[in-house]
């Protein structure tokens, strides 16, 4: 038996670059059941009420990282957030904060992807090994040093939670810096110097973070970017002072 149908008001921040000077709110009345996510609410709007509403989605189960948006002002995955939590008062959905809006709920991912590529997000082996030499071994504890940081799904909720990124988009931001740490903290990796010399010790790297730590709060995967960034500041500070006294250090 179907649940009794309820109606909820969803306000969507619209931005159609060909006609809107700036984003405007548009309201829709959506019938819903208790098992419906906010994403399903938007899909109902697109299918039955207004085909022009644009948003990204793919997996519907919090693993693809496509459907992040501001839901009542909080960065959330819309597939993992339920309409029933906002009944009867209704809800407002907006494109992820701090990131330029392309159209409606779709944001520009260019900046994120460029930064992600720049940190070499792959293992740079410490020592080349042949197939005959076998795999790179790692203890469970060595794995624990990076495992949580490898859970990132690139959903950019942490960027929408980071005022420092909003104020200065040159700051690499929580997600990419967490991935930078993920590879640096991997015992099989030998690329730390390459990654850090270009970025880590600057305001665009670790030092752009002021430990607001909201990124860790909103992360749907428990990555804890604030920890990934701030645990590096001590080493970064030591590096800053010792490079002047290490032979050849300051030139690096």
């Amino acid at each position: 038996m179907a649940d009794t149908e309820k109606i909820i008001e969803i306000q969507v921040l619209r931005y159609r670059p060909e006609q809107d000077k700036e984003p405007v709110l548009q309201s829709y009345k959506v019938p819903f059941t208790d098992d419906m996510s906010v994403l399903q609410g938007l899909q109902y709007i697109k299918d039955f009420l207004d085909g022009t509403v644009s948003f990204r989605w793919s997996c519907r189960m919090a693993i693809c990282g496509s459907c992040g948006m501001m839901i009542d002002g909080k960065p959330k995955l819309s597939c993992k957030t339920f309409l029933r939590e906002y009944y009867p008062q209704g809800l407002r959905v907006e494109a992820l904060a701090h990131i330029p809006i392309e159209r409606d709920l779709v944001v520009s991912v260019e900046d994120f992807v460029t930064k992600l590529e720049s940190i070499k997000p792959y293992i740079i082996p410490k020592e080349p090994r042949t197939l005959e030499q076998g795999e790179y071994l790692q203890t469970p504890q060595q794995r624990d040093m990076y495992e949580q940081f490898s859970s990132c799904i690139n959903c950019m909720l942490c960027y929408a939670a980071c005022p420092q990124y909003g104020l200065n988009p040159k700051f690499t931001g929580p997600g990419v810096l967490a991935l930078l740490h993920r590879y640096n903290a991997d015992s099989r990796d030998g690329g730390q110097e390459e990654r850090l010399n270009s970025l880590g010790h600057t305001d665009e790297g670790y030092w752009g973070c002021t430990a607001v730590a909201y990124c860790s709060e909103v992360c749907p995967k428990g990555v804890d970017p604030a920890n990934a960034i701030n645990q590096n500041k001590m080493n970064s500070a030591i590096n800053f002072f010792t490079r002047f006294v290490t032979p050849g250090g300051a030139g690096k």
């Binding site: 909080k74 904060a97 330029p100 520009s108 430990a211 607001v212 730590a213 909201y214 920890n227 001590m234």
Partner: protein
């Protein structure tokens, strides 16, 4: 030709947008009170250098109503400052293991708070012991 016209939203008043940001700003503002109290102590040090009479005059000044009220406000702010400091501390620590188990954030915060309480009490007893 591209019809793209990405819209960048303003950051004006960003910290009022979310309660989380407000509490962050409160944490940051407490640093100003710490600085203000450091100035009070520095003035005391300068007065000490000027001799016993000057120092006693400074001590007397601290006992007026306004300064007592200021101290109460600063005490409350310091308590919040200490709590917020140790609350963020787990974010600044590398992942640690004790006896094969990962040290939890609550343990780091609790240890820091306990250490600061013990340090405060130790200072209090030492000063009391010296003044008697």
């Amino acid at each position: 030709m591209s019809n793209r016209r990405p819209y960048v939203r303003s950051m004006d008043g960003w910290w009022k947008r979310d309660a989380y940001f407000v509490s962050y700003m409160v944490r940051e503002v407490t640093a100003l009170f710490v600085a203000a109290y450091a100035v009070v102590l520095l003035v005391g040090l300068v007065r000490l250098g000027q001799g016993e009479a000057a120092f006693n005059h400074w001590l007397q000044y601290l006992k007026n109503g306004w300064m007592l009220a200021f101290h109460l406000v600063v005490l409350a702010v310091f308590c919040y400052h200490t709590w917020s400091w140790f609350k963020i501390m787990p974010k600044t620590m590398p992942i640690m293991f004790v006896g094969g188990k990962r040290v939890q954030p609550g343990t780091i915060t609790g240890t820091g708070l306990a250490a600061s309480v013990i340090a405060c009490l130790a200072v209090l007893f030492i000063v009391r012991g010296m003044s008697q």
